[in-house]
């Protein structure tokens, strides 16, 4: 048997089954074929109209760039609208409650399903890009654009569409009701429209500057790679969350997500610190290299604040399957607790990540003394934000534990936290507005103590009081931690290997 034949058979066996099926369906589907043909026709028409009727083409030095922009707008809008929608709707239909696709009861892993779907979407995008790439390359001959710019913009388009696909697959995989799914889809649509306009304006700037002339400079590559790195890390997280949503309820859904986030956090944080330390003139005002560290910290804290609410919704009783994985060594158990599915572990992990982020920010910026006041203010704001969110989550936990006697689903914790957060943010402000319609102000600290975004509001309006707000949030959070100690201790005591465990109650699913 030939080497090529063996290699082909080896590959045939290893190719993702979902990718094989979806591509076979796409090839045999009239819809995809018609769409590609119509798309090709539009591209040819756009090119022909520009060449035949735009008389400035012969004299303009930007003609190629202009035609390329037109084609890129058509390409990106088509891909961004069609591909994520196609991928998302297919997966959501296969996951529909009463008509779950039988693929999900085969031995195929959730990861294979999600990656298969993502690769299929990427393959379809590549197919569309390949259809129009020859026409786009021809714009080089019309002047006003170089080949590296064309390739760079096409790569950027692929990343943007990939992010859209990751978002669509995440929403489709989530075990939520249709109205909420629709709302999330609308939010994604808004996000995609924003990404589209940013990508198109970015492409316009790149054409104007020319990528080819900047390729030799690290000042071009560092922000570019950082930017793409962040987007790809976010896509990876969305796809991993989608995999977790497809995994069985009894499995340890949180561990891969936490490990990935920890790794991505460490890598991106290290890159930002290295970049910030490479600043040649310490003590100067913030330049773009500093802003990467600052934005990294802001983004991470924001995501981890959401993570606190999600962690609060996790299980507080482990099933047999999870308890079997508890290490026998008491030394390893805390690590297991922090990285495994469970509310206490989730809150501890998020807390540690937040502390780590603030520490990274501190050590990354503190050598530059002129930045200290700014740094301290930011840490106060971040502390206030996460302490307030954690306090709300712990109020939710306390209510579920005592008022609902642990009988309600743990999702109630998140629902209560969100509800209380909304009430705590709005009611004091509305009360103040009704009482003193003329004199109350949005930055009045008295109305903001229950609002997690208070620090940001105060900072935006250059109003003092962030330190008082942070202190109140910290104390409130501390009280809630103390009140929830019995809940935490109960989980810690249950963190024993299955054979040793005395709490053999089976988790109740509702």
């Amino acid at each position: 048997m030939s080497v090529v034949g063996n290699a082909a058979r080896f590959l045939d066996d290893r190719v993702n089954p979902v990718l094989v099926k979806e591509l076979r369906q796409a090839v045999q589907s009239n819809f995809v074929t018609v769409l590609l043909l119509v798309y090709l026709l539009i591209e040819i028409l756009a090119m022909m109209l520009a060449v035949l009727f735009d008389h400035s083409l012969t004299s303009s030095l930007h003609a190629g760039g202009d035609v390329f922009m037109t084609m890129d707008t058509i390409l990106l809008s088509t891909c961004l609208l069609f591909v994520p929608t196609y991928a998302g709707i297919r997966l959501a239909a296969e996951r529909a409650d009463q008509n779950v696709d039988l693929m999900f009861i085969t031995t195929i892993t959730p990861g294979a399903v999600i990656w298969g779907k993502a690769f299929t979407a990427l393959a379809i995008t590549l197919l569309i890009v390949c259809v129009c790439a020859p026409f786009m390359m021809m714009t080089y001959l019309l002047r006003g654009i170089d080949l590296p710019t064309i390739c760079f913009v096409l790569a950027m388009d692929l990343v943007v569409v990939g992010a859209g696909v990751a978002g669509a697959l995440f929403i489709a995989a989530m075990p939520i009701r249709w109205p909420i799914r629709l709302l999330l889809a609308l939010a994604l649509l808004v996000g995609m429209v924003t990404a589209f306009s940013l990508a198109i304006s970015g492409a316009g700037n790149l054409i104007l500057w020319g990528v080819g002339s900047r390729m030799a400079s690290w000042n071009f590559w560092i922000p570019t790679l950082m930017f793409f790195g962040f987007i790809l890390a976010a896509c990876g997280l969305l796809l991993l969350l989608a995999c977790a949503a497809l995994a069985p309820q009894a499995s340890d859904r949180a561990r891969p997500v936490r490990l990935y986030v920890t790794l991505a956090w460490a890598l991106t944080g290290a890159a930002c610190v290295v970049l910030a330390q490479a600043h040649s003139t310490p003590g100067e005002s913030l330049d773009w290299r500093w802003s990467f560290l600052q934005e990294w910290a802001n983004g991470t804290i924001g995501l981890l604040a959401i993570g606190l609410v999600i962690a609060g919704c996790e299980r507080d009783v482990w099933g047999v399957r999870l308890r079997r994985t508890v290490p026998r060594s008491p030394v390893l158990r805390p690590f297991w607790l922090v990285f495994s599915s469970g509310a206490l572990g989730g809150l501890l992990w998020t807390g540690l990540m937040i502390a780590g982020t603030l520490a990274t920010l501190w050590f990354g910026m503190h050598p530059h003394r002129k930045l200290m006041p700014h740094l301290i203010r930011q840490i106060q704001i971040d502390t206030g934000l996460v302490c307030t969110v954690l306090a709300y989550v712990l109020v939710g936990t306390l209510l579920r534990d005592h008022v609902f006697r642990r009988k309600a689903n743990t999702m109630l914790v998140g629902a209560l936290a969100m509800l209380l957060m909304a009430a705590g943010s709005l009611i004091p402000m509305l009360t103040a507005a009704f009482q003193n319609p003329d004199s109350w102000g949005i930055t009045d600290t008295r109305w903001l103590f229950l609002n997690p975004m208070a620090g940001i509001a105060l900072e935006t309006h250059r109003h003092g009081g962030a330190e008082v707000y942070s202190m109140v949030a910290f104390i409130w959070c501390g009280i809630m931690v103390l009140l929830n100690l019995p809940w935490a201790l109960r989980q810690w005591r249950a963190c024993r290997p299955a054979a040793e465990n005395v709490l053999l109650e089976s988790p109740r699913r509702i």
Binding site: D13, Q28, M103, T106, P248, S251, G319, R321, R508, I510
Partner: protein, 314 residues
């Protein structure tokens, strides 16, 4: 393989689709799941097939929980749902190929598995046809082939004969018997009880999400009881002339639970043992009826179902 369902419950809000259901069966058994619409058969099957998760309770395949470790049991389960395959733009062969790949079958193993499933279900001639172009009966066969492609130890078949013509139905019955002879465990739900009783060695009867009775058929027939827990016998009676008078008499008699016409006979479900049947005969003779035949008949699954269920739906 031993399949055990223990205290399984599935609630949808206030509706108890399955409520504390417990039964078990083994390899080589064809086990029937019987009940009126809305009895919870499909939900029970979906949970066993790992498509749904119970509110409480569990099901085990050789001691492995379908709730805790669904990934470990999926390779051993073949599920044929009551809905037909609706995949667009896929041929029969590509459909089976996808599932064979999804179950991790490689190269030659995969080709052989697909060929075996296609041959077994008489689909070899249709392998290149698109799924959407197939008739309902053919789609049923594709569904069965898909359930068989990875050679599972347990087959869960939800209404496998629904919509099939009589010939296809007989063929399916023979196919299933052949599979049972190969040692496969099978859980089948069907409304065609006469057919089911010809295949099954055991049955679980459900109503309103609850298990009414479960066990081996011979045991169920032997311990046949009415809904209130008393023993039941079925007797067939043929009289000279009009049977209407007999029907009226039987309906008025205490201890007669139901009267059903069966050809020239009237079948009466009598509460009690052989002595009660003798007393019934004596009473009828006393009332002057000319009885040509009076015989006790074996209870069938249909009789069992009718006497144990009340026809309640939820």
């Amino acid at each position: 393989m031993h399949i055990e369902i223990t205290h399984l419950s599935r609630y949808f809000g206030s509706t108890h689709a399955v409520d504390d259901v417990t039964f078990s069966f083994n390899s080589g058994d064809i086990f029937g799941l019987v009940g009126p619409n809305g009895a919870g058969k499909t939900t029970t099957m979906r949970i066993l097939a790992t498509l749904d998760e119970p509110t409480t309770g569990d099901a085990f395949l050789d001691g492995v929980s379908v709730v805790q470790e669904p990934e470990r049991v999926r390779g051993q389960i073949g599920f044929m749902p009551d809905s037909l395959p609706t995949h667009r733009d896929v041929s029969v062969h590509d459909y089976l190929d996808f599932f064979a790949r999804a179950y991790g079958l490689r190269q030659r193993q995969r080709r052989e598995a697909i060929a075996r499933a296609e041959d077994f279900t008489n689909l070899a001639g249709l392998r290149h046809k698109m799924l959407r172009a197939l008739s309902k009966g053919m789609k049923q066969r594709v569904s069965l082939a898909r359930a068989l492609v990875h050679d599972p130890a347990l087959l869960i078949l939800d209404e496998p004969a629904a919509g099939l013509d009589p010939r296809a139905r007989i063929e399916l019955r023979e196919l299933l018997k052949a599979l049972a002879e190969k040692g496969k465990a099978m859980l089948i739900s069907s409304h065609i009880l006469t057919e089911l009783s010809q295949m099954c060695v055991g049955a679980a009867i459900m109503e309103r999400g609850r298990l009414v009775k479960a066990g081996r058929l011979d045991e169920l027939y032997r311990l046949h009881e009415s809904a209130d827990g008393k023993s039941l016998r079925v007797v067939a009676i043929r009289v000279a002339g009009d049977s209407q008078k007999l029907r009226q008499m039987l309906a008025e008699m205490p201890g007669v639970m139901a009267v059903i016409p069966a050809g020239d006979f009237l079948q009466a479900r009598v509460q009690g043992d052989e002595k009660a049947c003798g007393e019934l005969l004596a009473e009828l003779l006393k009332r002057g009826l000319q009885i040509l035949e009076f015989k006790q008949v074996n209870v069938g699954l249909e009789d069992l179902f009718m006497s144990l269920t009340k026809g309640d739906v939820q």
